[in-house]
Structures are given as C-alpha cells and as structure tokens.
C-alpha cells in the first residue's frame, strides 16, 4: 500500500480530488508528499472507482498536481500511553515540547466507537468545584458533559481553571488526570492555561493538545478527537478520572463550516452543516461512566456564543447534546461580579442524581429550587421597578427584589481562589433565604425549614 499517486485533478480549499487510484477506503488516512519535501496528512471523504476526495488537515497551501498521494490503508490513529501525562502535543498529536515521540502502548482509532448505552452507568458522584453557582444550583457529577457557554472577553478561562484546580470528589483519593485541547485559541490564551497548569503542578497530570489560532483550521476537526481518545485510554485502561477541557468549541464548528463549504454541501442553519448535531454528538457523547469500570471521562468544554446569542446554532446544538450548560453573563461581569455565572439559563441535567442525602445534603434540591424561584421573581421585579418605581411594590415584592441583590452579591460572587465546600455553599444559601418571609419558602418542605433555617436553629 505504499504506492504514490500523482493524479490530483483538482485542489479546492482544503480538498484535493484524485482519479485513477486503486480502490481506496472511506475515511482512510492519507499522506501527501509535497514537491518541497514536506509531508501533509489528510483523510478520504468520498471514494469511488472514478474519483477520490481527500481533506488535507494541514491545509492545501503549497500543494500542486506534482504532489504525491499515498493511501495508508488505515484510519487515523493516535499513539497512546500513560507517558502522555505531562506532555504537550500539537493538534494532530506530535510532540511540541521538545520531548521524544510517544512510545505507543497502543494505537487507538481517533474516531471512537459509540459507547453502548447498555454499558453506561448513570453518573452520580458529586464533584465539588468550590463554586457556589455550580455546586449549589448546577451540580457537576463525574462522567458528565457540562460546557461553559460564554462570550468573547468574559472570564471563562479563569472559571475553567478555577474548576480544574479545585474540582474534587470529597473523600476520594483516586487517580485523576486533565486532558486539555486547544482549538484555534490564541497563543496568549494558551499560555495563560499552561502557566496555571505549571504553577499548580497540574501539568504533570495533564496531556495538552494545542491547535492555535494560526494553525490550520482543518486540523481542528481532529484535535478534539485526539484529546478524547487519550482521555478514554487513560480512563478505561488506566482507571483514571479524566477531566477533559476542550476550548473553544466555536472554533471547531467554524472549521466544520469551512469544510462543508469547501465540499459544496447544502448548508443548514446559518451556513453550518446539516450534520453538525451528529458531528458534535460524536464528541460530547464521549463522556461517561462504564459499568464495572473505575475510570471516568468528564467534559468541561468552553464555547463562546457568537454575539452572546444562546440561540446561535453552536450553543443551541451543543445544549441539545450536553448535560446542561453553565452560562456566563456579560451583565454580571459588567457589575464586577466574579464568577459572573447567570444561574437562570444555566442547568445541570445530572444534578438530581448527584445530590441529596448521603451525597451532598437532604435539603439541597429544595434549597436550589427556592433560590431559582426567588431570583427569577426578583429579576422580574427589577424590570418592573425600572418602570413603576419601588414604591409601587408590595412589601412582599420588595423583599424579593432585595433577595435578588443578595443572591448576586453573596451567593454568586466569590473569590478567584475561594474554594467553598458544599456546606459553605448551602449555608450562604440559607443565610440569604432567611431574609425572605418564611411563607415565601414554598419550595422547601417544612422539615428542612425546621432543620436548617437560621431562625429555627437552637430551638
């Protein structure tokens, strides 16, 4: 299979078209030897007896019809090994840190096969991130995929790093690792992550894949798959709890759109490919817990919403696949609140299985529901006050209005290094809830009010 073809008939964007080849497999890895001696990699997108279409990961710059094309007969694989920990690799898996190539313990196909739903264990181990708006109201569990929906210029990187630093399963000392994949982010942003990893010693437990803003866009299609392949290997073959941070999903989707346009496909909504849901699912669904397996893969990806619009296809399709979303708000950020997480559009779908008696605390769910109800109503009233003035509000409504402020100021706001335990988070919650008339606490069972309401303490 080392035959080299020089039968390129067309080069268009990231694609090359060849004719007169032997039968070539769909999805096969391709090497392209350029006249200047360099080699690029690509993948077969369409194969027939007449014509073969290849997408070139490093871009088609410098390619011409003199270039030789070799079909490897293999799909794209990543060399995986436990020695990957502590290494920095390119977006296609080559060492960037001056270290040796990874000596493979195994060659793993980067297009992961779908996990059999029958093999999945519903995730339920509470991960304490130390951030109240997550632990208290949008709880993360091991094996979950919970992205951050943010906007440009907002502190999502800081939040992600704070989580990476503080995340723990209380009372467990199992092995963990971080897999970090940058897709199209700037060098400066990447440095920000790397420095933090180094400072905290996290780098030793991390595998880093970097595809930066000036790296070819098509490579972004394989970078997250490389990262997830490494993560699955560490989780399922070395029993580690792996936290995968993919950033930025938006850049990934842009690359996908670019590829679709190059293939002259019928575009879907706003020019993104019609299969983007399925494609994104093939990334996000690679998180979870397998029955009888110790290791887990948790995904905490970052996505910047174009124009802060949550209905844009990228956050929209993501939200339909992921198990919730943490939404970062420009308004709270402007108010100087860190972390500026808006809990209302945020959601953790797996929260219910991770909280409650024996996991966090028996009153957790009720407290969270009550916080939501109070804050939502408070925000409505804020809107109303802007029109009719505070005086027009009933006494009850005034209390609720004040509650919204308290919520932002005491529950949402916290320090960049403040690591609140779940007890601390629930204590803050009860403290602010106790400022409301007790009759307003309709979401909370009386038994919890008796047990935890500050006014009932010591009775």
């Amino acid at each position: 299979m080392t035959k080299e073809y020089k039968t390129i008939v067309e080069i268009s964007g990231p694609l090359i078209f060849l004719e007169k080849t032997e039968p070539v497999g769909y999805g096969e890895l391709v090497h392209i030897n350029l006249p200047d001696g360099t080699t690029k990699r690509g993948q077969v997108l369409d194969t027939s007896a007449d014509i073969v279409v290849v997408q070139v990961f490093e871009g088609t710059g410098g390619l011409n019809d003199e270039s030789g094309v070799v079909f490897t007969g293999e799909t794209i694989k990543l060399s995986v090994s436990k020695d990957m920990l502590g290494r920095i690799l390119s977006g296609s898996g080559d060492p960037l840190d001056g270290g040796p190539r990874i000596v493979p313990e195994k060659m793993a196909d980067i297009i992961g096969a779908a996990m059999n739903p029958y093999s999945r264990m519903p995730p339920e181990d509470f991960i304490q991130t130390g951030i109240s708006t997550i632990d208290g109201t949008n709880t993360l569990v091991r094996g979950q995929k919970l992205p951050i929906f943010s906007g440009s210029g907002l502190p999502h990187n800081e939040i992600a790093l704070q989580i990476a630093r503080q995340a723990k399963v209380v009372g467990s000392e199992e092995e963990f690792a971080v897999v970090f994949a940058a897709m199209g982010i700037t060098n400066e942003e990447a440095q920000y992550f790397m420095e933090d990893f180094e400072k905290t010693g996290a780098l030793e437990r991390a595998v880093v894949f970097l595809n930066l803003a000036d790296d070819p866009a098509v490579e972004r299609i394989i970078t997250p798959r490389m990262a997830l392949t490494a993560a699955e290997y560490l989780a399922y073959e070395h029993d580690m709890h792996v936290l995968v941070i993919l950033t930025d999903i938006t850049n990934y989707c842009e690359a996908l759109r670019q590829m679709g346009a190059a293939r002259e496909e019928v575009p879907g909504r706003r020019g993104y490919p019609g299969y983007m849901y399925t494609d994104l699912a093939s990334l996000y669904e690679r998180a979870g817990v397998i029955k009888g397996n110790k290791g887990t893969v948790t995904q905490f990806s970052i996505l910047t919403m174009p124009g802060d619009d949550i209905t844009h296809p990228i956050p929209d399709l993501s939200g339909y696949i992921t198990e919730g979303q943490i939404v970062v708000s420009r308004e709270l950020h402007r108010k100087g609140i860190y972390p500026p997480i808006n809990v209302l559009p945020s959601l953790s779908r797996l929260m219910n299985s991770g909280i409650g008696e024996g996991k966090t605390r028996d009153d957790h769910k009720a407290v969270s529901d009550q916080l939501y109800a109070g804050y939502a109503e408070g925000l409505d009233l804020r809107g109303l006050v802007a029109i009719v003035g505070k005086e027009a509000l009933s006494e009850r409504d005034q209390k609720i209005l004040e509650f919204a402020d308290l919520f932002e100021d005491r529950f949402v706001r916290q320090g960049r290094d403040e690591d609140r335990s779940i007890e601390d988070t629930l204590k803050v919650a009860w403290d602010i809830l106790s400022e409301l008339p007790e009759a307003q606490l309709s979401r909370i069972d009386n038994k919890f009010i008796d047990k935890y309401h500050p006014a009932h303490q010591g009775k």
């Binding site: 070539v24 096969a113 996990m115 019609g274 296809p313 696949i321 198990e323 939501y372 109800a373 009719v388």
Partner: protein, 578 residues
C-alpha cells in the same frame, strides 16, 4: 434468493452499489464485513444504500449481497424488557459480543431464539383461522399475556396444534395447506400492520401529571407533540409519561438523544412500580436506543422499528403508548441522508417528503378494532427539538398540522424552575371536549367546570399582568389582586409538579380533583370575605393558604388536606368571611 453485486462509491453513511437488482427498501449486506444497509434509491444500474453502521475503511469494489427482504423486525415473546438499537439489535447481546463500545459487522437477532416459552393453545384442530386470529398465549411477563396471532396475510384451517415449551422458531401450529406457524412473525417496519377498523378515541390516557390530565388531556389512541428548546423538559415529560401512564405497554424510543438518558431508564424502570399492577415498570416496556452518536441511518429506522412493535401489541388488544424522543433527530437523519443523495432540498434543507413521512408515522397511532376483533390503541407522543426554540421551523410546524395535542414547553418557565414548564396559555388539546363525558362520569361531575374556571382565571391573570407591568400590582383594585393571587395558587400549587419528588411525581386523578377543589374553595371564601369588607392583606396572609401549597408533597395527602381545609374554615370564620 441472494444476489451479489459490488460497491461503486462510499461517502459517509451512504454507499452506491451496482449489480444487486434491488427493490426499494431491500436489506443488503455491504462489504467484506457484511454491514447492514437498506436500499433507499434506485437509479438505472446504480442503487444507493444507507448503511446502518460506520463505513470507515470500506472500499469501492467490495461485495454487496441483496437478500431480497425489506427491513423487518422479529415479533414474538421476549420483546418486553428488551433494549434495542434502531434496527432491533439487542444492546445487551451487542455488549456480550463486542464489549462496551459498539463495533461494527455484528449481527444479532431481535428475539432470543434459544429461550423456551410455555405456549398454551386456544384453538383446536379443525378451527378456521385468519390473519390476526389468536391461536394461543404465552405469559410474557407477570402481567402481560402475549397473544400468539396468525400473521395478517395468512388464513386456513388448523390441522395440528401443540402446547408446551417451545422456542420462537418451533412450529406450534400447522394449517391444512401446509403453512407452519411459530410464535414469531417478521414484519417490514415501513409497512403499517393492518387492523379491521379505526375507532374514535374516547378515553383519556391518565398520566398522573396534573397539567396534562387536568388541562390538556390526550386520548388513548391519540397523538401529542412536546416541542421545546433544550432544557425545557421534553425528556423528563416523556419519561414521566412512560412511567406513570395507565397503559399496558410502553415503547420508548431514544432517537438521536443522550446515552445517559437511556441508561437512566434502564436503571430506574426495573426498580419502579407500575401504579396499575404493582409490577416493575420494565416488564411492560420496550426500549429503543439509537443515541446521537450511533449511526444516523439506524436512527432514521428507529421510529419505524418502534411503531411496528407498538402495532404488534395493539393487535393483541393492548393499549400501547409510544414516546419518540426526539422526532426532530429523526427528521435530521432524513435530511442528512437526503443531502447525501443530492436530492432537491425543501425548507431548511429538509427533504420535500418530510411532512408526508411525519404524517404517515402519526397515522400509525389510533384506536382500532384489530383483525381478531379486540380493541387496542397506540398513543403517540413525539418530542420536537426546534432549533433556537423557534416553533416556526418545519418540523414543529409540520407536526402541529397533524397532532391533536400540543404541549408547548417554555424556556421562561424552566429557567425559573416552574416544572413541568408547559405553557398553559399556548398549549391545547383537541380532546378536551370529547373527553368531557368521561371526566364527568369518572372523576367528578363538576370536574370540567372546575377545570374550565381555572383556565379562565389563568387567562385573566395574563391580561392583568400586562397592566401590572405598567402600573405595579398595588395599583390594581383588590378583587383583581385577589384574582392574581388565586392564579398564582393554581400555578404553584396545582400546575407545578416535581418529577423528582417521591410523592409528587405521580398524582392520581382523585388527588388532582381534590387539590383543585381546595384552591377553588379558598377562592370562593376569599371572594366572599373581600366582598364583606375584609382587607386583602388579611386574606393573603392566612396560614392555611401557605399550607395548602405543601399538601401535594404529603405521603398522607387526605389527612393533610383535611387539616388544611379545617384550618381554612376556622381562619375565614375568624377574619369575618362567611
């Protein structure tokens, strides 16, 4: 009869093949590994096959075999408690054969062909039978008696019939023309199974969900759609229906959605009790899980696999409910395949036949008199996932033209954790009227009035809210303030229902009635008090009002409610109401 051809082209989930002389929808084996596929387009010598498994590495020139059969499912005892992929491969068997990840090229039949079932014949030699006739029964699970029926297109006279332990392949009945019948029949999924007659749906599907049963009921044999943006409650609502509906059989299709949600069902259903029979819910359930990361072609097939299984149990005279979560992912699978076929796209890239496919699917619901004369029904409830939550998109719009019940989920409600976040102003049920008789007879004579008054109050609230937005609530006259307060009670005490609360998750109709009646009683007493000059603040600060909020959570609902009602009487007596 097998015909061998070869692959000409492969691109993603579709392959073009030559030389197999196919009919539309024939199932073919593609490539050296024999991947399963289905012919979806025929054009001269070339035909296009959608492949149900990943096509990586498959090359032009590899063989293709046409077995000359359309995509079919195996129907017989053993369907219940199974979990299948979109083409009826049992996921448990796939796991045993290839581990925790689904590799390709593995076949697995829908039914267990080794298991012995105790067959009890109900016909004798000499009996005349025709399509749909029941020839015997098998106790499939504790509460479901599986009727073994003559396949729809067969008839004759019984010349031999056996009873005892058999596999689904064994012949248990012989007809005089030599036809051998076993406990299993195969049926092509894209062809509706015939029934004798369609009947008008006239009974509600009781779901134990207050807003559904109370305000927007669906009939057994009816159709309903649940559209909503992500996180608004489609899946939880569907799962609640699968858990608590008073139905005999549930077919739950996870179509292009999350793996963990199916794992959840698999974990929970064997533990939960069917409120009707007290048996584990799993014993009445068939799951189909073709999650978002599994092949799209099999996702496209999954809804057909599901509805065919539903029809089979309907034919036995059972009430079946089918949930499809989400029909939008099915439509997207159609779109994806259609674009690979380079068909002319219709609206938003969906194929022009989208609306036809949707209506054909929902048409397979209904109440019927089956071929054997039994009455059975299929209620179809489809989730719809509109991009950006915008209901004007083609899948939502085409669905709304077909279904009779619309449960509109609203992100504004889910964001404030008002669940189920079904918008009471925009949702509707076209069965409300036709079921009124049933409600009057079976719930309470005043139920319909109670319900209609509540609905009216909620409408009134929406109008008043517009004024409040301009002047604040304190500026309203007191009787209108009271209206707002009562509407709030209906929303919070009655409509809100927590799916994750052990007691509140299911609410029997009798409890629904009493709860709404109690709110209405408060409303009447408060109105009277107000009229006789009691100040508004005295009324809305009554303890019984706040306590009423919590009775729905009480294990012993009756006692709790009666305590609150007594207190209500006392309090109104004290403040000077009537």
């Amino acid at each position: 009869m097998e015909i061998k051809g070869e692959i000409y082209r492969v691109a993603g989930p579709v392959a073009m093949v030559t030389g197999i002389n196919p009919r539309m929808y024939d199932v073919v084996k593609v490539g050296h590994e024999g991947l399963m596929g289905e012919v979806i387009k025929i054009e001269g010598k070339k035909s296009t096959v959608q492949v149900y498994e990943d096509t990586s590495g498959i090359k032009p020139g590899e063989p293709v075999i046409n077995a000359g059969m359309p995509l079919s499912v195996e129907l017989g005892p053993g369907l219940l408690e199974s979990i299948y992929d979109g083409i009826q491969r049992p996921l448990q068997v796939l796991q045993e054969k290839m581990g925790d990840f689904i590799e390709r090229g593995v076949t697995a039949s829908g039914l267990n062909h080794e298991k012995l079932w105790d067959f009890k014949p109900t016909v004798s030699v000499g009996d005349k039978v025709k399509g749909g006739s029941v020839i015997g029964t098998v106790q499939e699970t504790m509460n479901i008696e599986h009727k073994i029926m003559v396949p729809p297109n067969v008839s004759g006279t019984v010349s031999e019939i056996k009873g005892g332990e058999f596999t689904v392949d064994d012949t248990i009945c012989l007809l005089s023309d030599g036809t051998e019948l076993s406990m299993m029949q195969k049926w092509p999924v894209r062809v509706p199974r015939p029934s004798a007659k369609k009947l008008m749906p006239n009974k509600p599907l009781i779901t134990g969900q207050r807003i559904l049963d109370g305000l927007f009921p669906v009939a057994k044999g009816g159709t309903a759609a649940i559209p909503g943006p992500f996180g608004s409650g489609k899946t939880v609502t569907q799962q609640q229906l699968a858990k608590w509906s008073d139905t005999d059989i549930v077919v739950y299709i996870g179509c292009g959605e999350r793996g963990n949600e199916m794992a959840d069902v698999l974990n929970e259903f064997p533990e939960l009790e069917d409120p009707k029979t007290g048996r584990p819910l799993m014993e009445r359930t068939v799951l189909i899980a073709n999650t978002s990361n599994m092949p799209v072609a099999a996702r496209e097939a999954s809804v057909y696999t599901g509805i065919t299984i539903a029809e089979y149990y309907r034919d036995m005279g059972y009430d079946v409910s089918l949930m499809a979560d989400s029909t939008s992912r099915w439509a997207e699978a159609m779109r994806e395949i259609s674009s690979r076929l380079e068909e002319m796209p219709g609206e938003e890239g969906y194929p022009a036949y989208l609306s036809a496919r949707l209506s054909e699917f929902y048409e397979r619901s209904g109440c019927v008199k089956s071929l054997s004369g039994d009455e059975g029904s299929i209620t179809v409830i489809g989730a719809v996932s509109p991009p950006g939550g915008d209901f004007s998109e083609p899948v939502t719009q085409n669905t709304l033209r077909i279904v009779k019940v619309f449960w509109a989920l609203d992100a504004k409600l889910s964001q404030r954790r008002h669940f189920p976040s079904i918008n009471w102003l925009t949702s509707y049920s076209l069965y409300s009227k036709s079921l009124s008789d049933w409600f009057g007879k079976n719930v309470a004579t005043d139920w319909v009035d109670l319900r209609d008054n509540s609905m009216e109050l909620l409408q009134k609230e929406a109008e008043l809210q517009e004024i409040v937005q301009l002047v604040g609530s304190d500026a309203l006259p007191e009787d209108q303030q009271l209206t707002l307060e009562i509407a709030r009670m209906i929303r919070e005490y009655f409509l809100q229902q927590n799916a994750f609360h052990p007691v509140d998750t299911y609410c029997a109709f009798d409890k629904q009635y009493k709860l709404l009646k109690a709110i209405s009683k408060f409303s009447d007493m408060a109105t009277a008090a107000l009229e006789s000059g009691v100040p508004m603040t005295d009324i809305i600060t009554l303890e019984s009002k706040d306590e009423l909020a919590k009775v729905k959570f009480e294990e012993d609902f009756e006692t709790a409610l009666n305590t609150v009602l007594k207190k209500m009487d006392n309090e109104f007596a004290r403040i000077g109401g009537k």
